[in-house]
């Protein structure tokens, strides 16, 4: 290139590049805008999802209570004055509450109206009274104002889920009930209180008496079985494949199969559990034991893959260093590789467990979808799990179960977020740079 041509060439090129540069900047800006839009869209969808659930579900954590002045008649509670909790526990407390309601609304007459009046209280309200009496028997013979649970329809009415302006025939709560409730509201005898039942009870046909504790305990036992099975099996498989196994077509085959297994739809594992664990081995139906075994099959590939990735991430120089000072291959693994890979393995395990916690389909197959009121006491007791409980409640016809469903979803999401946060924390805490 000669001196005379150089400036023109440079000029020409500068023109071109400016135009090009403009286009390039524009493309870059556009691309960033698309990216931001995608993120906002994702956030909006997430916000919508969580917002709907929270709006529908937060009322599940409170429950309408009605203050009822109840005369704790010794003739009903303990006629023989035995002071025996057994006898006191069997008394008709619901009847006492009914008497009080009759006294409060003396002009209600007729069998049907009376039954309606009694119906504003929960069928379990008597239990609240019984608990009060059993915890302090000295109140027998006095009149106590006790807060007892309302029925689910009244609960929905008070929480505003039932439109009082609708024609009576379209409403679950009738005009006379509304009159009573308004009278009680005027007395200050209606209040929404924290719903402890929701966190302490098992399932129930009555929404105001239903709780998630049974499902939480069921989930706990199920995940316990899953963890006990998958962690040792998964880690040992990963260590063997990564550190000891020769690289040949057999180990290749095993690797491909493990990866394929991770992609098998979970309901297939449920069918397998049904066919093998229940039909052949005769293990109990609906039990966390079987649920955990099925979920273990499902989670195992995830944990093996995560553990292998964590082991691969340990630099070979550490292995060489240990071998060089005379450690055996097992010592290299147990002294150096495994401790260094453990945070990664734990993270993978927790994410696998979180996946198992949210799993419903395989558990339906092995009967964990049954209606179970009792809190499971062990891994062989019939139980259900949180996601299945949500599925069951979503199916229930009562209006009040809508908020229970959303409440249970919030609890499940809470556990999932907690587990994932733990995984992130572990990774951040023990992350190592070489």
């Amino acid at each position: 290139m000669t001196d005379s041509t150089a400036p023109t060439a440079a000029l020409r090129r500068a023109d071109l590049s400016e135009e090009r540069l403009g286009r390039r900047y524009a493309a870059e800006k556009r691309f960033r805008a698309y990216g931001l839009m995608a993120i906002f869209a994702a956030l909006a969808i997430l916000g919508l999802l969580i917002g709907t659930i929270v709006l529908n579900g937060y009322t599940a954590f409170v429950q309408t209570h009605i203050a009822v002045p109840v005369y704790l008649d010794p003739q009903v509670i303990d006629p023989q004055d035995t002071n025996d909790p057994q006898i006191m526990g069997r008394a008709d407390y619901q009847g006492l509450l009914r008497t009080s309601l009759r006294d409060r609304f003396p002009d209600v007459s007729g069998r049907r109206d009376r039954l309606k009046l009694y119906g504003i209280l929960s069928n379990g309200a008597g239990l609240d009274v019984r608990d009060a009496v059993l915890s302090d028997p000295s109140i027998i013979g006095t009149t106590q104002t006790l807060w007892v649970k309302s029925s689910d329809d009244i609960d929905s009415l008070v929480k505003g889920y039932i439109d009082r302006t609708l024609p009576e025939s379209d409403r679950r709560v009738k005009d006379n009930e509304i009159v009573w409730i308004e009278a009680l509201e005027a007395d200050g005898a209606i209040e929404t209180q924290f719903n402890t039942t929701f966190f302490t009870a098992g399932d129930s046909r009555e929404p105001e008496q239903a709780g998630i504790w049974g499902a939480v305990v069921g989930s706990f036992y199920t995940l316990l079985i899953t963890l006990v099975l998958t962690f040792p099996i998964g880690v040992l498989s990963a260590v063997y494949l990564e550190e000891f196994a020769p690289k040949n077509k057999w180990t290749d085959l095993i690797e491909v199969n493990i990866n394929n297994l991770a992609a098998v739809p979970s309901i297939i594992f449920g069918l397998l559990g049904l066919a093998v664990f229940l039909s052949i081995f005769g293990l109990p139906r609906s039990a966390p034991l079987v649920g955990g075994m099925v979920l273990a099959l499902m989670t195992l590939p995830t944990i093996i893959i995560a553990a292998r990735a964590a082991l691969k991430a340990v630099p070979p120089s550490i292995r060489e260093a240990a071998l060089g000072v005379g450690a055996s291959r097992l010592q290299v693994v147990t002294h150096h590789v495994l401790p260094l890979a453990l945070p990664g393995i734990m993270t993978g395990t927790i994410i696998g467990m979180a996946q198992a916690l949210g799993e419903t389909a395989p558990l339906l197959m092995i009967g964990m979808v049954a209606f179970i009121v009792d809190i499971p006491g062990g891994v062989t007791d019939p139980a259900t799990v949180l996601p299945v409980q949500i599925f069951l409640w979503a199916d229930a016809p009562e209006r009040a179960f809508v908020e229970k469903t959303n409440g249970a979803i919030m609890v499940l999401l809470g556990f999932l977020i907690l587990m994932n946060a733990l995984a992130v924390l572990l990774r951040k805490r023990f992350e190592r740079q070489w």
Binding site: I318, L323, G324, V325, A327, R329, H336
Partner: protein, 267 residues
């Protein structure tokens, strides 16, 4: 091949009795042959350097001496390698014992992500060398002193070994190798990741260690080979081309290829 035949003859560079010997050693990685018919004696208490262009098999040979190649899939060693006259590849030999006697320092400093103390104490604990805590403390101090690192780290033995500078890390690795009291120390390009000052320190150290240990060092730097070793072996394309007194090899190489390599005509 003429040069190999020459090398096979008892080496004139052997001032001391051979600590390790290699006879007709062939190494294969799967189908490909990495080393051909290597005969080499390694004299006791002297530094033997292995030089040659990349891929010539010098590291492979070094790793045969303490069987570090065992863990590589498809690696096969034929021929005879002896330590004090005993074949290290004979069946029934305990590799762990062998590696305690033939220690190794690697190209990249690779301290364990543990404290400085634990880095050194790991080997002695593994082999049960120390009987008590104070004995272990003594071994740690002695090893670090011999590696010339004691003065620099004595106040922070509990801080992580990975927090030291590159040169210090490499000396830590040397101390770690010394701590199990080996007879031979293999060094695989120990200075290639270090700056000239750290390199000078390591070279000085190698010279001191020669009093107590037999050292085999692989290096890409011919100046380094000339500085630290008494005996040099030149490898090329899997063959041991020439072996001799370092001075003689660098000033008056017998083989054309050696001549070419040390004068920088290929490499």
């Amino acid at each position: 091949m003429e040069a190999v035949a020459e090398a096979a003859a008892p080496s004139p560079a052997l001032r001391n009795s051979p600590k390790m010997t290699s006879r007709k050693t062939d190494v294969y990685y799967g189908e490909s042959q990495a080393l051909r018919d290597v005969d080499l004696d390694i004299g006791e208490n002297q530094v033997t350097s292995l030089i040659g262009p990349s891929g010539c098999g010098k590291s492979t040979f070094l790793r045969c001496l303490n069987r570090m190649n065992d863990v590589i899939d498809g690696c096969r060693v034929e021929g005879e390698i002896t330590l004090d006259g005993i074949d290290v590849y004979r069946s029934g030999l305990d590799v762990v014992q062998l590696r305690a006697r033939v220690g190794m320092v690697f190209q990249k400093p690779n301290p364990f992500p543990k404290s400085i103390y634990d880095n050194i104490a790991y080997g002695p604990r593994l082999h049960g060398i120390a009987e008590s805590k104070s004995e272990l403390d003594d071994i740690v101090e002695l090893s670090l002193s011999r590696a010339g690192l004691w003065e620099e780290v004595k106040d922070r033995l509990t801080s992580p070994g990975t927090g030291l500078s590159g040169g210090q890390q490499q000396r830590l690795c040397i101390a770690r190798a010394i701590a199990v009291n080996p007879e031979v120390i293999l060094m695989d390009e120990p200075c290639s990741a270090l700056d000239p000052i750290a390199t000078a320190k390591i070279e000085e150290l190698i010279d001191e260690l020669r009093q107590n240990f037999t050292i085999v060092i692989v290096t890409h730097s011919m100046q380094q080979a000339a500085r630290v070793s008494q005996k040099t072996a030149f490898f090329h394309l899997g063959n041991l081309v020439e072996v001799g007194d370092t001075e003689q090899l660098f000033t008056n190489p017998r083989d054309e290829r050696t001549q070419g390599y040390i004068t920088g005509r290929f490499g």
